[in-house]
């Protein structure tokens, strides 16, 4: 019985990540167009983009198993991440991975994108991968600190444990600071301005994915959209899980509303900012990481 529930929830989470992420991306595009005083594409445009890409010719510049399997593994790793993250209920595979596993599985898709970039033998892709790595180096510690704050508060590394503790104990100073830090990190994890340095279409023409086309490009795009949705879920569920009634459809709808709000903020920041240089971005996240250590200090003294 328990197994069926776990599998069902896991499938639900993966389906949400897979099927809803293009819709939210479409909403973000529509919002940006509105601020630009454009009409913009319909909100279903990302679905149409994916469908069209899936039928196009698959041009490859690299060889080898890893290069061939990278798009599928990238999307697959994001689906695994979705099952480790709470969406309206406790994370279905919480018994298989705690917050450390979440952090490392979240990095897996980035690793695969970077390897694809290096493997495609284009200097632009290599520059993009190198920038992606530097972004990861500065953003991941911020997320780590934020999640560890939760672990210190709850006294466990389990995602479900932290969620339960939050629901029971209500907001605290340290978790608020950690949540803000996580939100700031989300901007770069989603690859949005001012931190779209690894793609930087005007400079390096899409970076790591410059040589990707057709279905491979579709999968990489899809994985990025799904990842931003999953990380937004992680943010709202771990740091602002209230109110919680315990009925899955209700909690899920509420979480979806909160996720949409978070992504609206991300889109707003994206639309009003110019791109930073990589060293400026690293300096920015270094400061964020050190500020978020304050949350850790608060958590240690029990606030």
């Amino acid at each position: 019985m328990r197994t069926i529930v776990v599998v069902g929830l896991a499938v639900l989470n993966a389906a949400i990540a897979l099927l809803l992420s293009p819709l939210l991306e479409g909403l973000m595009r529509k919002l940006k167009a509105t601020i630009h005083s454009r009409i913009g594409p319909p909100v279903t445009q990302p679905y149409l983009d994916l469908l069209k890409l899936l039928g196009k010719e698959d041009l490859r510049t690299g060889r080898g198993f890893l290069y061939a399997a990278a798009p599928a593994l990238t999307l697959g790793s994001v689906l695994v991440l979705a099952t480790l993250v709470p969406m309206g209920a406790a994370p279905p595979l919480s018994f298989a991975g705690d917050i450390i596993v979440v952090l490392y599985v979240a990095a897996m898709s980035a690793v695969l994108v970077m390897l694809t970039g290096f493997g495609s033998a284009s200097p632009y892709a290599s520059v993009g991968s190198s920038r992606e790595m530097m972004t990861l180096l500065t953003v991941e510690p911020v997320m780590a600190v934020a999640l560890v704050v939760g672990a210190v508060k709850a006294g466990t590394l389990s995602t479900a444990g932290i969620l339960a503790w939050q629901v029971e104990h209500g907001p605290s100073i340290s978790m608020v600071i950690a949540g803000v830090a996580f939100l700031l990190a989300l901007q770069a994890q989603a690859g949005k301005l001012p931190f779209d340095i690894p793609e930087a279409d005007q400079e390096i023409m899409g970076g790591s994915l410059i040589e990707q086309s057709g279905p491979r490009l579709a999968l990489f795009r899809w994985a990025m959209w799904a990842k931003q949705l999953v990380l937004a879920f992680l943010l709202v569920e771990l740091f602002v899980p209230w109110p919680r009634v315990g009925i899955l459809p209700f909690d899920l709808m509420l979480a979806l509303v909160k996720v949409s709000l978070v992504l609206v903020v991300v889109a707003l920041v994206d639309v009003v900012n110019p791109r930073l240089r990589i060293d400026q971005a690293m300096g920015y996240y270094l400061r964020v990481a050190f500020s978020s250590l304050a949350a850790l200090a608060f958590a240690v003294i029990g606030m």
């Binding site: 198993f65 689906l79 390897l115 290096f118 033998a121 290599s126 057709g214 579709a218 240690v300």
Partner: protein
């Protein structure tokens, strides 16, 4: 047979192999294969001993030799901790020797008589020092190991950098050994015996009566063993010595030799040191030393473009992780034994994992060096197409060392970081150290993506034809890469064995494997009866496979045609290799941010007064003038010897006339 007899057989086989390979050193291939055969034969009794220990066959100490005057006794006893390190030694010894057979063709001028015999003596000394329980003989074998590895480091003795690396290694490690001898002598004076048990008791007594002396002894042991383990700042010998040795030896040095430093640290700080306030303090010291090592070592590795030097700096970094786990373990022994056991488990598992992936990486770098003659990653690229086996095994090892799930490096790093965070609930310092560990794991990833991107991926140099290495060099790499995957996906079995090793090392009661790691098919760390951290590799791998299959089905849903195309470089016509992204260009802004992290000390030779320097320079005022005078005299004499008979006859005639004239003048 008893373990003592089996171990003697093992060591004798290794020493016999040394002699036989010395005898047939004229034939390079034969000497190599003979060495492999003897190492393989020696592994059989070794395996038997290890199986006995883990099967729980209890055996007492066996005395092989007694020196009653000191008193010291050559006693042999294998506990689970020794057995674990014996496994590492055996596996890496066999694989690195096998790799070396064809690799040694690389050195055409140097005879293998100075390689295989020394290598086998090196392995024999490591086996011996792991099984003795007497400090005097431990130090003897330790010294033998240091000396034999020194000769392996300076194998290419004509090269200036090998000589320098060897000298540095010799001086630093002997200073460290001196510290250990001093510490041992202090304890021996107290105990009156060199046996481990007696030293252990005397340390306890000393700690109670004269705490300052006890801490001094611990500091001396710490410096001694941490130097060998490569913990910074004492581990400065490592980045020079490891690349200088032939690649098979580099693998053995990084795989096993540095681990023996860890073995020593565990013996001293877990077995000798009583669980007390002192162990809390020394645990924090170990954890801090480990964190400094992993931070500085790994960030310095990121800057390297020489492949083997990069790996050597990563050895410092990974040893830092082991030392961090060890430190957290020792510090928590008194307050929370469960977390201590978890941290020690993580440290030991990381030691095993590091032996697998670092040996594999060094062998991969050696294979590339063998085929291209190149260690500079700026001048390599696109080798994956021509060396697929090396490329795949290096990729697996690189992902393992970077801690990408589900490979083995992730599991042990997860254990260490989880223990840091759970231990951090009592000591907040460990929280920060755990976060540093997580950050550095990303830096490791960056560094190895650079290796993969610059050496194996990217544009191929069409002008150079490169072949895959022969089977005997590819096989060790494949075996090690397979171990990386297996240990990562099925961690329960090795961790169960390691629990016994931890239990035999520490002086407290260690909970059983189920109580520590949960009863499910994954790992669920439990402390105080609650499962607090989870990692089930099989579930995640299964989910990844399912997700990947679904994604692949989507990818192929449109049945898109696949076509191979050249890289588009905006219409420029330069060759792909000319516009390659070189290793030194990776992550430049990030590397600039950490530029001064590994300061280079340039010690200046002291200047003596000019007169003194002249007086000491015997060459200029004694040897050279004498040589010149003798030389000139000889040249003068030789000028008269022209080689024409008539001239000699003339000289005889002239001589006779002169003699007659003198005689006449005298007799008159």
């Amino acid at each position: 047979m008893t373990s003592a007899l089996l171990l003697q057989t093992c060591v004798l086989l290794l020493l016999g192999g040394a002699l036989v390979s010395l005898a047939c050193a004229r034939n390079r291939a034969l000497a190599g294969w003979v060495s492999v055969a003897f190492v393989a034969a020696a592994c059989v009794p070794l395996a038997r001993v290890v199986v006995n220990v883990f099967a729980g066959v209890a055996e007492g100490e066996t005395v092989l030799l007694a020196l009653p005057a000191l008193p010291a006794r050559l006693t042999v006893h294998v506990d689970a901790l020794s057995a674990f390190f014996l496994v590492l030694t055996g596996v890496i010894a066999l694989l690195s020797t096998l790799f070396s057979v064809r690799y040694m063709e690389h050195f055409e001028k140097d005879t293998v008589a100075k390689f295989y015999p020394v290598l086998l003596v090196f392995f024999a000394s490591m086996v011996a020092l792991l099984v003795v329980t007497d400090m005097l003989f431990f130090l003897v074998f330790w010294e033998l190991m240091t000396l034999s590895s020194f000769f392996l480091v300076i194998f290419e003795r004509e090269r200036k950098d090998s000589q320098r690396a060897g000298l540095k290694y010799f001086v630093i490690t002997h200073a460290a050994t001196l510290c250990m001898i001093a510490g041992t002598l202090v304890l021996w004076r107290q105990a009156g015996s060199f046996s481990f048990a007696a030293l252990q008791d005397s340390l306890g007594v000393l700690l109670a009566e004269r705490a300052v002396v006890a801490h001094l002894v611990l500091f001396l042991f710490f410096v001694g063993f941490a130097t060998k383990a490569g913990v910074l700042p004492m581990g400065d010998w490592l980045p020079d010595a490891h690349p200088a040795a032939p690649s098979g030896v580099s693998a053995a040095l990084s795989g096993v030799l540095v681990k023996l430093g860890i073995y020593g640290l565990i013996r001293v700080f877990c077995s000798f040191l009583p669980v007390s306030a002192a162990s809390d303090t020394w645990g924090v010291v170990l954890a801090l030393a480990g964190t400094v090592s992993l931070f500085v070592g790994t960030l310095t590795a990121l800057r390297q473009t020489d492949s083997k030097r990069l790996m050597a700096f990563h050895t410092i970094g990974q040893i830092g992780y082991i030392c961090l786990g060890l430190g957290v373990g020792v510090a928590c022994l008194r307050t929370s034994p469960t977390i201590a056991a978890l941290a020690l488990l993580g440290a030991l598992f990381h030691a095993a994992n590091h032996a697998c992936f670092k040996a594999c990486l060094f062998l991969g770098a050696g294979a590339v060096l063998h085929r291209t003659g190149e260690r500079d990653m700026d001048r390599l690229g696109g080798l994956a197409a021509s060396m697929p086996v090396t490329a795949s095994s290096t990729t697996v090892a690189a992902l393992s060392i970077s801690g990408v799930p589900p490979f083995n490096g992730f599991t042990s790093k997860w254990l260490i970081v989880a223990a840091c965070i759970l231990g951090g609930l009592q000591h907040p310092l460990f929280l920060v150290l755990g976060l540093v560990g997580m950050f550095i794991s990303l830096v490791t990833l960056a560094s190895f993506l650079k290796v993969l991107g610059a050496v194996f991926m990217g544009a191929r140099d069409e002008s150079r034809s490169v072949k895959e290495v022969p089977l005997s060099m590819a096989l060790p790499q494949v075996v090690l890469a397979a171990l990386c995957v297996l240990l990562g996906v099925f961690p329960r079995l090795p961790l169960g064995v390691l629990r016994d090793a931890v239990a035999s090392a520490v002086r407290i009661e260690v909970p059983g494997a189920d109580a520590l790691l949960g009863t499910g098919f994954g790992l669920g760390l439990t402390a105080g009866g609650l499962a607090l951290a989870f990692w089930a590799p099989l579930v995640v791998v299964l989910a990844l496979a399912l997700g990947g299959a679904l994604a692949y089905a989507i990818q192929r849903a449109g049945a898109a045609k696949v076509r191979e195309v050249p890289v588009w470089t905006c219409g420029e016509l330069d060759s792909a290799a000319a516009v390659r992204y070189p290793a030194s260009s990776f992550y430049l802004p990030f590397k600039h941010a950490f530029a001064g992290i590994y300061p280079a000390l340039h010690a200046r030779v002291p200047q003596f007064p000019a007169a003194l320097r002249r007086a000491f320079n015997v060459d200029t005022w004694l040897y050279r003038p004498v040589v010149r005078a003798v030389d000139g005299l000889a040249r003068g004499v030789s000028r008269s010897h022209v080689g024409v008979p008539q001239v000699y006859l003339l000289w005889i005639a002239v001589g006779a006339v002169v003699v007659v004239a003198v005689m006449l003048a005298l007799t008159r």
